[in-house]
């Protein structure tokens, strides 16, 4: 495994470090995952479909986001347009029957009233996690058959990773009719660590292990490399893609970059407590 580069960028409202890696895995010569990780865009796409269509589809999905790259935070409308373009171009170039398609997950830093926010989006079963104050939260919800089974109570979450249909996804770019992406908007806070990955990671490494590594290792590049290593050591039948983004500092509106940590530890004060 070659060394993984670590990048950093400081915007007036946020300072980030990040790293990304993608690997065909242990059983495939093809890597149909695509990744784009450059300020302020961190997205992963997992292509599917035979015959060269998978990697083309995932590359097209990612391509739509390249235009957001720059020195400034994106704005929400531009991200919506990028999502639209991703759907359009994957769909337009989907050929064969069934056509090639792609998942899409990740996050774009957007400006909401002068404050950096994560616009997290998802179509399919790639994932975006948020690790914050020692807690790992899977922000995105898989569009997958096993997720539906889990939601209806037919399957325990713990068994989902071994379910024979774990690879069946229920939503994708390029797959027939356009279905909207799920979106989340979360304020960026100092100390947050985001992980965007394809199912090649989460199929092999469980959330507990991921959380442990995220808590133990401070460098995004090192943690990305270790996550990839874990997946490869587990056999990695699928392509594996990992992006890790750390928030080093955040400025609130009209403030200098500073440590927002103190603001984030305590939440609302119950009125009763004040009386």
């Amino acid at each position: 495994m070659s060394a993984i580069g670590e990048f950093r960028y400081s915007h007036p409202s946020i300072a980030l470090r990040w790293a990304a890696t993608t690997h065909p895995g242990m059983r495939r010569s093809v890597n149909e995952d695509s990744v784009f990780a450059s300020f302020p865009v961190f997205v992963v796409a997992d292509g599917m479909g035979g015959h060269a269509s998978g990697d083309v589809a995932s590359a097209l999905a990612i391509e739509a986001f390249r235009g957001l790259k720059g020195r400034t935070l994106a704005d929400v409308a531009c991200v919506e347009t990028a999502v639209e373009h991703a759907f359009e171009s994957v769909h337009a170039n989907a050929v064969g029957e069934p056509a090639g398609g792609s998942t899409l997950s990740g996050t774009v830093l957007v400006d909401v009233d002068g404050v950096a926010h994560w616009l997290i989006l998802n179509v399919g079963d790639s994932r975006t996690y948020l690790y914050e104050q020692g807690r790992l939260e899977q922000v995105t919800v898989d569009h997958s058959m096993v997720q539906e089974l889990v939601e209806t109570g037919a399957l325990r979450r713990a068994d989902a990773r071994r379910h024979p249909n774990r690879n069946v996804i229920t939503r994708a770019l390029g797959a027939g009719e356009r279905q909207p992406a799920d979106v989340w908007l979360r304020p960026a806070e100092r100390g947050q660590r985001l992980v965007v990955c394809s199912d090649g990671l989460t199929g092999e490494v469980d959330d507990h292990e991921i959380a442990e590594l995220l808590g133990d290792v401070s460098s995004p590049a090192a943690v990305a490399a270790l996550l990839l290593r874990r997946a490869l050591d587990a056999g990695a039948p699928d392509n594996v893609t990992v992006v890790v983004v750390d928030v080093d500092a955040v400025a609130l509106a009209d403030e200098e970059l500073h440590d927002t940590h103190a603001h984030t530890i305590d939440d609302t004060i119950p009125r009763e407590a004040l009386r």
């Binding site: 450059s38 720059g70 347009t81 069934p98 616009l119 069946v168 994708a172 797959a175 908007l185």
Partner: protein, 480 residues
């Protein structure tokens, strides 16, 4: 051909006959492999090769030795080297043509696999991850009289089983199992010549045999990971550039094209994504996909539903309709109203209830903040001290509204306001101190946490810390 063909076992189909080698996707049906084998034996030049590649939709590369050159035709994405020099990946063209010296060593496919164990193939059909075409060794230089390992009918299936090292297509899986049960599976290749295995000592053994147990086959045909071998990713990590450049001009263009003026079709992608033009790839049938039969049915139903064109929303004055499609009626002036409305909410004109149809919903209401700012509810709004949105499934990013709360009385995400169909809805997001609904003529009412409460125009909501917001009808200038 006076060349020596070595391959790393894998999933793609390699057909070698006469002077030609063709590699196809995993999806190639054995019967077509047979036909391809027969056709390849007749190929003498680049044009002949191009012809048979054009007829086989799963073909990935073709190589033919001509008197003056070794000719390689490749689809975009298939890595290849000639004498260890990487051949460029070309976008746009159907087949990338490379000619090398007749004695060049050409590698193609999953190149890393060639560092591991390779096997010889003098002609016939094998399942490969990568192939190497090297100058023939002195003793093996003899013309390979079509050895046609696939030619003898009784032998056929066993042959496929023996060569297909990893994942035979489902169609031959059973036969393969038989073949393996019958004999030693490891050293199956029955090629008489010495294997001349090359194992690079430092090679990281990319696919060691134990790792090659069959992947679990889902009972449902289309699985996301049922993708064939041989092609490299189009994007590599080296493209992850560290230096952010100034915002691309395409952003303004994207913005400009994005204005979805009512009824307009989706914006044309402005920045044509890459020159890859994958539409040019004449890809045929293949089976790796994610779509379940159930989903296919659902899509079909949706497609049918979408085929009924929504009546073009006639827009006059009044908030432009940018919202989701909802059942609606029109007034005489073309304003979109909720079904059951008798007098237009915009102009008071009578509403024709026979005009009921699905249309984009205009902005119905705004929340007026203590600052006087009016925020439309159409996209959904989350108010709080440092608000975040929960999962939104229609792709419309909600508005986050930060309200001052010096005493931290208000929760980070305190209250959600949205429009469901035509209903104005408020949801207290399990805020610490709750939300009060203030309605003219009623006693203040505490919102039940996480429950959707239907609002009326004129309602006010008290979030605490003297933040009271009002729900008012949208005006034309409120539209986003």
């Amino acid at each position: 051909m006076s060349a020596r063909l070595e391959y790393a076992p894998g999933e793609a189909w390699c057909v070698a006959a006469g002077a030609a080698v063709v590699v196809c996707e995993r999806d190639l049906p054995p019967v077509r492999a047979r036909a391809l084998y027969d056709a390849a034996a007749t190929v003498r030049d680049a044009e002949g090769l191009r012809t048979i590649l054009g007829l086989e939709p799963t073909a990935l590369i073709g190589l033919v030795d001509t008197p003056g050159a070794r000719v390689l035709l490749r689809r975009h994405g298939v890595p290849a080297t000639a004498d260890d020099a990487t051949l460029p990946d070309r976008f746009g063209e159907e087949w990338a043509l490379d000619e090398t010296a007749p004695d060049a060593v050409v590698d193609a496919g999953g190149l890393a696999a060639l560092a591991g164990q390779t096997l010889p193939l003098e002609g016939g059909v094998a399942r490969v991850a990568a192939v190497r075409i090297a100058p023939g060794s002195a003793d093996a230089a003899s013309e390979p009289a079509p050895p046609a390992p696939v030619a003898e009918a009784p032998d056929d299936e066993a042959r496929f089983g023996a060569f297909g090292q990893t994942l035979p297509p489902r169609a031959v899986a059973a036969e393969r199992a038989e073949a393996e049960a019958g004999g030693a599976p490891a050293e199956a290749p029955a090629a008489p010549s010495a294997p001349a295995e090359q194992v690079a000592p430092s090679a990281p053994e990319p696919a060691s045999p134990p790792a090659r147990e069959p992947e679990p086959d889902g009972p449902i045909g289309g699985l996301i990971d049922s993708v064939p071998g041989f092609i490299k990713p189009a994007i590599d990590v080296s493209e992850i550039a560290p230096a952010p450049r100034a915002a691309a001009p395409s952003r303004e263009a994207a913005e400009a094209s994005q204005r979805p003026d009512a009824g307009a079709t989706r914006p044309v992608p402005v920045a044509e994504p890459a020159a890859s033009a994958p539409g040019a790839l004449d890809m045929g049938d293949h089976d790796g996909m994610t779509i379940t039969a159930e989903q296919a049915r659902r899509l079909q139903a949706e497609r049918a539903a979408a085929a009924q064109p929504p009546a073009a929303p006639a827009q006059h004055a009044g908030p432009p309709a940018t919202g989701p499609l909802v059942l609606s009626t029109l007034c005489a002036s073309g304003h979109v109203n909720a079904p059951g409305t008798t007098a237009c909410t915009t102009c008071g004109a009578p509403v024709d209830d026979r005009s009921a149809a699905q249309r984009r919903r205009p902005e119905v209401a705004v929340v007026v903040l203590p600052s006087g700012e009016r925020v439309p509810l159409g996209r959904g709004v989350v108010l709080g001290r440092r608000p975040r949105s929960r999962r939104v499934e229609d792709g419309r990013v909600p508005r986050l509204v930060t309200v001052e709360s010096p005493s931290e009385d208000i929760s980070r995400s305190h209250l959600e306001l949205r429009v469901d169909d035509w209903n104005l809805v408020a949801v207290d997001l399990s805020s610490t101190n709750g939300t009060l609904l203030l309605r003219e003529g009623s006693a203040p009412q505490r919102l039940r946490p996480e429950a959707a409460t239907i609002l009326q125009l004129g309602d006010r909501l008290d979030l605490g810390d003297s933040v009271v917001v009002a729900i008012e009808p949208a005006r034309a200038e409120d539209a986003q």
